[in-house]
């Protein structure tokens, strides 16, 4: 089990970052936290503008841009404007340009394994959050089994932050909790078990889980304890 405490700290730093550099720092911290070679956030918008940060080498970033690999990279082709997470093994690497690209990426230390999460923002904005590393298929499968849900959430937290830095954007509206989500998080903060919360709200535990999941996402958290702490510190709940 990875240390959730440190993940919470990384996400808190990411959320309170006041400059794009905060995203870079978060990719480095996450790569250490997850024990993977690389963590990369890559923004591609409808005007074709790109912005990226992450742990790839300067040489690879330059190479990628110089060669305009956006047009060749199967990860981009497989994820663009979609919304399901992709293990790189699922992608089509059979074409000659894709094979050459892969060989080069591995030579530049990208790794032979990758997992990419597409994120669709407003008005055609699109981003990819990727972790990659060099390891066996077995190890990689175990890693993605354990961490994919966290990675999906973290991908969206990166994008939320990146959008907040857009100059012509008003500050992203604080993600308000719905009345039911507020009730659920408040009762959990009071120490109720899930069964007790569900009973108090006269809903099933399954339904409660949906409200907690949604509250967790709005609060930028990957687990419930963290979500409760954030709701308290933001004054969204009072106990």
């Amino acid at each position: 089990m990875l240390d959730q405490g440190s993940l919470n700290g990384i996400l808190k730093d990411l959320e309170t970052a006041t400059a794009l550099e905060g995203l870079q720092i978060a990719t480095e911290a996450l790569s250490a936290h997850f024990g993977v070679d690389h963590v990369v956030y890559h923004w591609v918008d409808s005007r074709g503008d790109q912005y990226g940060c992450g742990t790839y080498s300067e040489a690879w970033k330059k190479r990628y841009l110089d060669q305009n690999y956006l047009r060749v990279d199967p990860v981009i082709a497989g994820c663009y404007q979609r919304f399901h997470p992709v293990d790189w093994k699922q992608l089509d690497w059979t074409g000659k340009p894709a094979r050459a690209f892969l060989a080069e990426a591995i030579a530049y230390g990208v790794g032979n394994q990758g997992y990419s999460v597409p994120v669709r923002g407003p008005v055609g904005q699109f981003a990819l959050f990727t972790v990659s590393t060099n390891c066996s298929d077995d190890k990689w499968r175990a890693f993605t089994e354990d961490n994919s849900r966290d990675l999906i959430l973290i991908a969206h937290y990166f994008n939320r932050k990146a959008l907040a830095f857009e100059p012509d954007r008003s500050e992203e509206q604080a993600q308000a909790l719905s009345p039911r989500e507020t009730d659920a998080i408040t009762l959990i903060a009071l120490g109720y078990s899930r069964a007790q919360v569900a009973e108090a709200l006269a809903i099933s535990e399954h339904t409660l889980r949906v409200y907690i999941e949604s509250a967790r996402f709005k609060l930028g958290a990957t687990n419930t304890t963290h979500a409760v702490a954030r709701a308290l510190s933001r004054g969204l709940i009072v106990v």
């Binding site: 093994k89 499968r141 949604s214 996402f217």
Partner: protein, 212 residues
């Protein structure tokens, strides 16, 4: 067979796509009387079809549409949040781990097995993409069909009466439901996995082969 197709790729299966939108007009306008928009060509489409949703489509042996449903993540615009906020706790549900399922449609003459196959695909999506739940909008009378195929949603609320009655509900991941639905559909796990891999790539086995 089951097809998984994003809207942006529907042009690769033009007849299947066309018959899907026609069957939606037949179901939602003609049979249920919902106030939906139907084009001159007889296609029922709404604004969510423009958001590049993921469709799951049952393709009949003749290449036509047998049934379908539509998925969008709740991180963007979705019908439950836009229209049914009062039934889902008074505000939007948002999470990349919760997708919305709408426009569950069966073509005329489609039997229960098609409905079961679609629900099996839903389970496949939930498993593979690590989702926790679906939130769905459906014709209230579908509840009976869902129960018959062993995939009952938890109904959160309903609105309207008679033909207009629309419900919002949740589906969650349970291995038992998955096995039940597979049996009702008459589709093996291996077959389902192969169809999924055909759309999304990767190994056809549920557990990745130990290769490379």
């Amino acid at each position: 067979m089951l097809r998984y197709v994003y809207a942006q790729d529907l042009h690769t299966v033009p007849e299947l796509a066309h018959s899907m939108f026609q069957d939606r007009a037949d179901q939602f306008r003609d049979r249920l009387g919902w106030p939906v928009d139907v084009s001159d060509e007889g296609a029922e489409r709404d604004s969510y079809d423009d958001l590049n949703p993921l469709y799951v489509i049952w393709e009949k042996p003749d290449g036509g549409h047998g049934g379908s449903m539509r998925f969008l993540p709740t991180t963007g615009p979705v019908m439950v949040n836009d229209v049914f906020g009062d039934m889902i706790g008074g505000g939007p549900i948002r999470s990349p781990l919760i997708w919305e399922c709408t426009r569950f449609c069966l073509s005329r003459g489609a039997d229960r097995r098609v409905a079961a196959a679609l629900m099996l695909a839903g389970g496949e999506i939930m498993d593979r993409f690590r989702l926790t739940s679906f939130v769905g909008v459906f014709d209230a009378r579908m509840v009976r069909v869902y129960r018959a195929i062993g995939a009952s949603p938890e109904v959160l609320g309903s609105r309207g009466t008679g033909h207009d009655r629309i419900s919002v509900g949740l589906w969650h991941q349970t291995p038992e439901a998955r096995a039940r639905v597979g049996a009702r559909a008459g589709i093996s796990d291996a077959q389902s996995a192969a169809w999924f891999a055909r759309a999304f790539g990767g190994d056809t086995e549920r557990d990745y082969a130990l290769s490379a």
